[in-house]
Amino acid sequence: MPLLKLSMLSGLLLLGICMGCFIGAANISIDEIAFFVFTNEGSTSVIWEYRIPRALLAIGVGAGLGVAGALTQGVFRNPLASPDLMGVSAGAGLAATSVVLFYPESSNEFLMIAAIFGGFVGAGAIIILAQLFSAQTVQFALIGVALSAFLASCIDFLVMTHPGEINAAMIWLTGSLWGRGWEHIPYLWGSLLVFLLIALMITWKMEAISLGDEAAVSLGIKPQQFRLFTLGIVVILSSLSISVCGTMSFVGLLAPHVARLMFRSNFRVIVLASALIGGLLVLMADLLARGIQPPLEIPAGIMTSLIGAPYFIFLLQRGKV
């Protein structure tokens, strides 16, 4: 059964990629696309150079955030936990913004490393604060909200004080895939696949963690150590996504919830499904972002918020959170 639903999700992703070939500032007809597919030439290089890589990036970014969200919620047994609330997103966003503003010439790789570093600092700060106040589930989420708001205001401050670079920096505030292409694919998809594989390999321990720390200890698992390890993967996956397209809010929070609604199943399936659903969310958001009013582009991050926030309230009202 899970296999059927998982392949359905993959099918939707393929459909999304195909739709992505049509939608955008330049109008390209089906004939032209068919011509391109069969002869590999024509004006439609737009598709190969811009639209296909962009769809692949959207999927990669969303999948990374989805997996990061599923791992965070699982390891903290907290349905409100997400990379957004762990200080990871804001930390990585602040680091990326700083790099773009102060070293506009730096390479993608440097940006990525800076974002991961920022993500680790953000997550570290939350963990230290939570330890200081020996925070429980709700306090933990609140500390996350507070720290994320603080870091986000730092980003605002940087952007406002550097109006010359405001366009580039805006991307990290709202999340957009505009102007991203093949050059981002290798490292994003490479690390996504590596860390997804690691995540799938450790999910069986996550099941023991889900029974509570006392039970996990008596089953021979060290919860604290496991949590830190998993959080490391979360930071890397979400910071990578952020280094490509800025903060896509709600994806890391929502994807695992949707996955759990669709699959009442073991954690391995939830992680896989969160990857697919996250990918689908960002892909759809990006399609909407450039399809609503071409040639004008709305940042995809705004779209994920527009879809995510009402859905999250729907979940709250159903008592699923």
Binding site: R77, M201, T203, W204, K205, E207, A208, S210, L211, G212, D213, E214, A215, V217, S218, L219, G220, I221, K222, R260, F263, R264, S265, N266
Partner: protein, 256 residues
């Protein structure tokens, strides 16, 4: 399998709960920690099951300190039924019982034929076959407890710790649980449990360890331990001891 604590000091922050406590747990018997609220009996059980780290002192298994064993090795020797059971959303009974095999799994967590056999037997012995494919979060408290016992059976440890297992159960489920505990003991397991109900402790346990203010006051067979002055001094309870007409064990009846 001999379990003993040597000079344990345990506390949270500045507060000391157990102070320089030493105790031997009798092998192959059912032992109950009893005592008034806040006497440290749950803390002692949690320390013996590695959930709480002692500040000083050591716990020894077969004469060797816990530090000589890996987490996995200890998880194959001592299992724990926590007081509060987290039931994860969307987990079936069978899956939960399978988690009892966690310490036996290798790097990737693949279950062997032997693991499956243990799971099947545990489900049968705990009497949860009929609900094996149900979701744990949809079960009643009594059923949930049974399912967790099945998980502990699958873990296949010579020592089993139970933290107030009867607290949230109705009377008939309490009795069923105590019989399950006796059955585990008959298979040679050492059982250690925290109990609130003195009569239950007297009736179903072989050995009582009576605690107050973080210290062991006395220990021994229920018949040897239970008397009026102990009830007065430890529990501040005026009570008479009778003989249980069915089990012949001591039975406390409060005077007021």
């Amino acid at each position: 399998m001999m379990l003993s604590a040597k000079n344990l000091t345990v506390g949270y922050g500045d507060r000391t709960i157990l102070n320089d406590l030493s105790i031997d747990i009798p092998s192959n018997k059912v032992t109950a920690f009893i005592g008034p609220n806040g006497c440290g009996k749950s803390t002692l059980l949690k320390t013996l099951s590695r959930v709480i780290q002692p500040k000083h002192g050591s716990i020894e298994l077969d004469g060797k300190s816990f530090q000589h064993y890996s987490e996995k090795q200890l998880a194959k020797k001592i299992s724990l039924l926590p007081q509060v059971l987290h039931a994860p959303e969307g987990m079936t009974v069978r899956k939960l019982v399978t988690l009892g095999r966690t310490p036996y799994l290798s790097f990737l967590g693949r279950l062997s034929e032997v693991d499956h056999e243990h799971v099947t037997n545990a489900i049968k012995n705990a009497g949860v076959e009929a609900i094996a494919d149900h979701f744990v979060d949809a079960l009643s408290g009594g059923q949930r407890q049974r399912v967790w016992i099945a998980m502990i059976l699958a873990q296949d440890t010579p020592i089993v710790m139970l933290d107030e297992p009867t607290t949230y159960l109705d009377l008939s489920h309490q009795v069923a649980l105590m019989q399950l505990i006796r059955a585990m003991n008959n298979q040679g397991k050492t059982v250690v449990t925290v109990l609130h109900d003195l009569n239950q402790a007297c009736r179903y346990c072989d050995h009582l360890i009576v605690m107050k203010d973080g210290k062991v006051i006395t220990q021994g067979m229920p018949e040897a331990v239970m008397n009026r002055s102990l009830l007065k001094s430890v529990f501040d309870l005026d009570a008479e001891i009778f003989q249980d007409p069915i089990a012949q064990s001591p039975m406390c009846v409060s005077l007021f």
